[in-house]
């Protein structure tokens, strides 16, 4: 009985393996590889753009790897990657490199959907994050301690947030520190008294698909992808492709493709904001 079972399982595995391998086109011997490394925020978008690029240029393979924005910049500089991906603008020490923005990503404050607070002023946000306000009832919510969710040091979202509100990270008194956007969304969704800030696109998507979070307007402007697109939303960061020298050949083709109208829908599918044309 067991022998028959093993044989059947083996047959199924063989069938599955041959099916999957058969449906993949083989690579030709003249394939040129384009390597991108860097930010894990940009990586899914870059992978989708690369996939579409490969259909237009059958002899090119686009390999996307992650490792963080700093790694992407360093790899581009050291030549370990053809293009680096960074979810931030270049720092002053990186000015010798070339950067090309392919999309924008807004940052919105989010709270749990059950939270009665509807809007927070700039001063209130500063006081919540520095620990001056510790209970929701002081800002129009229920009587419960505020759980402040902050991002880990070094993340561009954090730096943008601190810069916009004029804060030092040392002054922020968080109860929870998160790494990725999704972790922030899940933390706020699971805690009725939490407040945090994440990428607008992801937050909009999750809120629209049942996750119990809501986006708060910032300085009177509704937090939405649309408002980032038309420039009225004040908090946004660029998603950049970075190269060490003036791009040429296949690298230039790829970067131009990534900034063109052809990938507009891909950018929107990843809940980022395509550049206004």
């Amino acid at each position: 009985m067991t022998k028959k079972l093993i044989f059947i399982v083996f047959l199924l595995l063989a069938a599955w393996l041959s099916w999957t391998l058969w449906s993949t086109p083989p690579a030709s011997s003249t394939t040129r590889k384009l390597v991108l490394t860097g930010s894990s925020t940009v990586a899914p978008l870059a992978a989708e753009i690369g996939r579409r690029f490969e259909t237009l240029h059958p002899d090119v393979r686009v390999d996307v790897q992650t490792g963080g924005s700093s790694r992407g910049v360093n790899d581009a500089r050291a030549g370990l990657a053809d293009i680096g991906m960074a979810s931030r603008a270049l720092k002053t020490s990186e000015e010798d490199l070339y950067s090309f923005t392919i999309a924008l990503d807004g940052i919105s404050i989010i709270v749990n959907r059950s939270n009665p607070a509807a809007a927070l002023s700039r001063q209130q946000i500063i006081e919540i994050y520095t620990g001056a306000i510790t209970n929701w009832r002081e800002v129009g919510g229920r009587d419960a301690p505020i759980t402040v969710v902050n991002k880990a040091e070094g993340h561009s979202t954090l730096e943008l947030f601190l810069h916009h509100f004029g804060l030092q990270n040392r002054a922020v008194k968080p109860q929870v520190i998160i790494g990725d956007n999704q972790q922030g969304i899940k933390t706020v969704a699971g805690n009725p008294n939490a407040i945090g800030y994440v990428s607008i696109g992801s937050a909009e998507y999750e809120a629209g698909h049942g996750t119990p979070i809501k986006l708060l307007p910032l300085e009177g402007v509704q937090a939405s992808v649309e408002n980032v697109r038309n420039g009225s939303f004040p908090l946004a960061r660029p998603l950049n492709l970075v190269t060490q020298s003036e791009p040429a050949g296949i690298v230039r083709d790829f970067i131009e493709f990534a900034r063109s109208e052809q990938v507009r829908e891909l950018v929107e599918a990843q809940y980022f904001v395509p550049l206004a044309r």
Partner: protein, 292 residues
């Protein structure tokens, strides 16, 4: 009883090639250890040189972008999380092994063992996700914020339980039948046989399992990153968020450059030293109490 193993096998010339092969294998394993150590030392040298070891214990806090490098709070986070997880997982793991070997009916025992083997292979991301979306909100209802030392301890305990259970199970399976029959002949009850005969005979096997589990607990990155809250502080209670050294490396490595990056590798070295201290302490404790 004859306990010396070195001279019980007949030495023969046919074994010389085997011996050289085995030495080659051991050399490979030793090389791996040396390579990792060298890598850690090379990568942490900039920080050790520019920042100096004292500052890793004496600075005011951990704010690398502002030049502060005290990682003691995170070291304490790692220690508390791992110790708590071990306290929970060791008795439960051994109990699970005893259950599958002597208490469960035959059909259930096999299924139970399959379940434990399965749990050894579930990705840390899945454990972390479950902790973040199910366990942390439950704890949060007791006491905000939910993502806390307690959540870390519980999730880690779940993760290392299979290690302890499987090694204990294998060790219990190797207890000679003669011992167990002797216990039965003496009229010992089931628990008497277990506590008096089986468990003492498997002491070194279970100790290995505990060491491996402790190593896993201290080296775990993803799951603790998601459920511990990641605030750099000494915890005052079980409900306070903590940051472990591993979560720290994972959080900041993607954006760290220069001295900051090297400082993260220093914390990796610190973990290795901690492991060394723990193994050394375990070795000292068990000295003079061995049977073989």
């Amino acid at each position: 009883m004859n306990w010396s193993k070195l001279n019980t096998l007949f030495p023969s010339r046919a074994d010389q090639p085997l011996l050289w092969l085995l030495r080659l294998c051991a050399l490979t394993a030793a090389t791996v250890v040396l390579l990792i150590l060298t890598f850690l030392v090379i990568e942490s040298r900039p920080a050790l040189r520019d920042v100096g070891i004292a500052r890793f214990f004496g600075d005011r806090s951990w704010h690398p972008t502002e030049g502060e490098y005290n990682f003691m709070p995170m070291l304490s986070g790692t220690v508390y999380c791992s110790l708590g997880a071990l306290l929970l997982a060791v008795p439960s793991g051994i109990a699970a092994a005893l259950f599958s070997r002597w208490y469960a009916p035959a059909s259930v025992a096999g299924l139970f063992r399959r379940l434990i083997e399965l749990l050894a292979g579930i990705p840390s991301v899945v454990y972390g996700l479950w902790g973040l979306t199910t366990l942390a909100p439950l704890i949060g209802r007791l006491h905000a914020p939910g993502t806390s030392l307690l959540a870390g301890i519980l999730i880690l305990a779940l993760m290392i339980l299979p290690t302890i259970a499987l090694t204990a199970d294998a060790a219990l399976a190797a207890v000679p039948q003669a011992y167990l029959r002797g216990a039965a002949a003496l009229g010992l009850s089931r628990w008497g046989m277990i506590s008096g005969v089986a468990l003492p005979a498997t002491r070194s096997g279970i100790a290995t399992g505990i060491l491996l589990a402790a190593a896993r607990a201290m080296g775990e990155t993803m799951a603790v990153l998601m459920v511990c809250g990641n605030v750099v502080q000494y915890p005052d209670s079980l409900f306070d968020p903590v940051r472990t050294l591993t979560a720290n490396i994972a959080l900041e490595m993607a954006y760290a450059m220069g001295d900051h990056r090297a400082a993260l590798f220093v914390s990796g070295l610190a973990l290795m030293l901690l492991m060394l201290a723990m193994v050394g302490a375990a070795g000292l404790l068990s000295r003079g109490r061995r049977y073989a």
